[in-house]
C-alpha cells in the first residue's frame, strides 16, 4: 500500500481517539474485555493524574467506546470500565491502520 493510500484510509478513523492516553485506554480495556478494569488500576497502571484520566474516560464514554459500572471489591464500591462493541471496532480499525502505517514509514523501509 502506498503512503498516499494510507493517508486516504486514515480519513475513516476517529481522530478524536488519537491521543496517547485514549489509545492506551482503548488498548488496555480491549485486553481485559468483559472483565473490565477499575479506575484505580487504570490510574496506577497508566500513571496519569485524576484530571487527565477522568476527562478522557468521560470523552471515550461520550463517543460510545467505553462504559462504566459500579462493582464490589472487598466491601468497597469501585468504578470499573469496559470497552463496548463500538469501541472494539474503532480500536481494531486504528490498530490495523497503525500497523500498515508503521510498515510503510518504519525503520525497515530505510
Amino acid at each position: 500500500m502506498s503512503f498516499y493510500e494510507l493517508l486516504e484510509e486514515s480519513s475513516v478513523l476517529d481522530s478524536k481517539v488519537f491521543s496517547q492516553i485514549r489509545l492506551l485506554l482503548l488498548a488496555v480495556l480491549e485486553i481485559h474485555d468483559r472483565d473490565g478494569i477499575s479506575y484505580r488500576e487504570l490510574k496506577a497502571g497508566l500513571n496519569v493524574s485524576d484530571g487527565v484520566l477522568y476527562f478522557n474516560l468521560k470523552e471515550l464514554g461520550k463517543m460510545g467506546y467505553i462504559e462504566e459500572e459500579q462493582v464490589n471489591f472487598e466491601e468497597k464500591k469501585l468504578t470499573s470500565y469496559y470497552i463496548t462493541e463500538q469501541g472494539k471496532e474503532e480500536w481494531n480499525k486504528i490498530r490495523v491502520w497503525l500497523s500498515k502505517f508503521l510498515k510503510n514509514v518504519g525503520d525497515d523501509k530505510k
Partner: protein
C-alpha cells in the same frame, strides 16, 4: 474444554463456588490458576503481565464460554494426588481474598517469571498496586513466598 474442566476441578478442591458476574470472583479465578500453574499444576494457559498483574485472555474467554459449568461446578476432570497437595497448600497459605491474590500473583510473576530478586519484585508490586495498604502488600508477599518459595 479439558483445560477449563481442570480449572473447575481446582475450584472445587478449593471449595470456591464462583459467580462469574462478580468482578471479584473473576479476579480470584485468574490469580488462583496463575499461582497454581507456578506451584506445579499443569495448565496450558499463558499469562502475560498487564495492568492488573498476570492475566490470561484465553482463560477469560473459557470462563465466559463455560459460565454455567463453572457456576454449577460441573466437571469430569480428576486431579492427581500431587495436584491436590498443591491446591491444598495454596488454600492453607493464601486466602481467597482478591487483594491478597492480586498482590501474590503479581509478586510471583516478578520473582518467578522475570527472575527479579525480592527487593525488586516487592518494589514493582508497591508501584503497580499502590492503592493497597503497605500492610496488605506485605501480607500478600509473605503468603506467596510461603506458598512458592519456602
Amino acid at each position: 474444554m479439558n483445560q477449563i474442566n481442570k480449572v473447575i476441578a481446582c475450584l472445587n478442591e478449593l471449595e470456591f463456588s464462583p459467580d462469574i458476574d462478580k468482578f471479584e470472583h473473576r479476579i480470584i479465578i485468574q490469580k488462583v490458576i496463575f499461582l497454581l500453574k507456578l506451584g506445579g499444576v499443569n495448565f496450558n494457559y499463558d499469562f502475560e503481565l498487564y495492568i492488573r498483574g498476570p492475566y490470561c485472555r484465553t482463560l477469560t474467554k473459557d470462563i465466559y464460554n463455560n459460565k454455567d459449568d463453572i457456576e454449577k461446578s460441573n466437571t469430569d476432570s480428576k486431579l492427581t494426588k500431587s495436584e491436590k497437595i498443591i491446591i491444598n497448600r495454596l488454600k492453607e497459605k493464601l486466602s481467597l481474598k482478591p487483594s491478597i491474590l492480586e498482590i501474590a500473583a503479581t509478586y510471583a510473576y516478578f520473582i518467578k517469571i522475570e527472575e527479579l530478586n525480592h527487593i525488586e519484585s516487592s518494589n514493582k508490586v508497591k508501584k503497580m498496586k499502590h492503592f493497597f495498604t503497605v500492610g496488605r502488600i506485605y501480607e500478600g508477599v509473605s503468603k506467596v513466598r510461603e506458598f512458592l518459595l519456602d
